[in-house]
Symmetry: D2
Subunit: 137 residues, 4 copies
Amino acid sequence: MAAFHNEIRIRYQECDMQGVVYFARYPEYYDISLTELFRVALGSYQSMVDAGTDIVVAEQTVRYRSPARFDDVVDVAITIDRLGETSMQSAYAISRGGELIVEGDVRHVFIDVPTKAKRPMPEEIRAALGAYGPESG
Amino acid sequence: MAAFHNEIRIRYQECDMQGVVYFARYPEYYDISLTELFRVALGSYQSMVDAGTDIVVAEQTVRYRSPARFDDVVDVAITIDRLGETSMQSAYAISRGGELIVEGDVRHVFIDVPTKAKRPMPEEIRAALGAYGPESG
Amino acid sequence: MAAFHNEIRIRYQECDMQGVVYFARYPEYYDISLTELFRVALGSYQSMVDAGTDIVVAEQTVRYRSPARFDDVVDVAITIDRLGETSMQSAYAISRGGELIVEGDVRHVFIDVPTKAKRPMPEEIRAALGAYGPESG
Amino acid sequence: MAAFHNEIRIRYQECDMQGVVYFARYPEYYDISLTELFRVALGSYQSMVDAGTDIVVAEQTVRYRSPARFDDVVDVAITIDRLGETSMQSAYAISRGGELIVEGDVRHVFIDVPTKAKRPMPEEIRAALGAYGPESG
C-alpha cells in the first residue's frame, strides 16, 4: 500500500441544515485530493491537460459511515487500484482523527482534449500513478 | 413501474471548465428531485422533518454515460426500489430528450430528529413511498 | 418600469447551518434569473456567446433584509438600469410573498469571446435589453 | 494597517465555462478567510456561536479587476474597517502574486443565537477584532 494523503478543512458552506457536510460534497473532496496527487505525481493536473490528455468521471460511489462537520480537518487517502488501457480506478478513504468516516471509488476515463474521444493512458502518466497502487511500496 | 419524474434545467454554475456539468452535481439533482417526490407523496420533506423524522444518505452511486450541458433540460426519474425496516433504496435515471445520460442509486436511512438515531420508517411514509416502487402500478 | 420576473424554489443544499440560504447563493440567483431574461429577450445566453459576445461581472452587491429558507419560492425581479457603451447595469429585487427580502446590483462588461477583450455592446442586444429599462413600458 | 492574510488555492469546481473562478465564489473566499481570522483572534468561529453569539451578513460587495484561475493560490487580506454597536464592517483585498485582482466589503450584524435578534457585539470580540482595524499596529 502506498496511499496518497491530503488534508482538507471543512468549510462552513459545505455543511447543510443537518449541521453536517452535505452528502454531495464528498466526491468534491475526492476530486480536490486527486488534484493534489497529480501535482505530486505529474507536476500538475493542468500540465496533463495542456499536453492534450484529460480525464472524465465514468462512475463514482460514496459510502457514509459518520458525518464530518464544519471546521473538522479530514484526511483523504487515495489508492490507485487499477490502471486499465483507457481508464483508472481510484479508492478514497476519508478519516478524521484516525476514524474512517467516508469511503468510495471513482473510475476515470482518459480522453483526448481536442476530440474528447477516449484514448489510451499516456505511458508517463501510467508510470507516475503506479506508485500509488495497492501493490506498490 | 411507477417512476416519479422531475425536470431540471442545468444552471451555468453547475458546469465546469470542460463545458459540461461537474460530476458531483448529479447527486444534487437526485436530491432536488427526491424533494419533489416527497412533496407529491407526503406534503413536503420539511413536514416529515417537523414531524420528527429525517433521512440521511448512507450510500450513493453515479454512473456517467453522456454529459449534460448548460441550459439542457433533463428528466430525473426516481423509482423507490426497496423499503427496508429503517432504510430506503432509490434509483435514479437522468435522461435528456429520451436518451439516458446518467444513472445511479441512493440508500437513505431514517433517523429520529432530536436524537439522530436510526429509527423504523413511519408507516404513513412507507405507504406513501410504496406507490413509486418497481412492483407498483 | 418593466421588470423581468423569474421564480426560483430554494434548494436544500443552498441553505446553511443557520437554517437559511447561504449569503453567497444570492448572486447565483441573480445570474440564473438573468439567463432567463436573456432567453426571453435574445433567444438564449448561449446564442449570444455562440455569436461571439460574452459578458463578465465587473461588480456586484447584495443587501440582505430577511432570509429565504429551504423550499421557499422567491421572485427575482430584474431591471436593466443602464446600458453603457461596453457595460450593463442591472438591479435585482428578490421577494417572497410580496415582501422584499434581498436586493442589489450587478455591472457586467461585454467581451469578445475569442480575445476576451472589452467590446461595445452589439446593437441588437442593446435594443432587446432596453425593454427592461427603468424608463420603459 | 494590520490586515489578516489567508491563502486559498482555487479549486477546479469553483471555475466555470469561461475558464475562470465563477463570480459568486469570491464572497465565499471572504467567508472562508474570515473564519481563519476568527480562529486566530477568538479561538474559533464555532466557539463564538457556542457562547451564544453569531453573525449574519447584512451587505456585501465584490469588485472584479482580473480573474483568478484553477490552481492559482490567492491571498485574501482582511481589514476590520469598523466595529459598530451591533455590526462589523470588513474589507477584503484578494491578490495573486502581488497583483490585486478582487476587492470588496462585507457588513455583518451580531445576533443572539437562540432568538436570532440583533445584539451588541460582546466586548471580548470587539477587543479581539480591533487588532485588525485600519488604525491598528
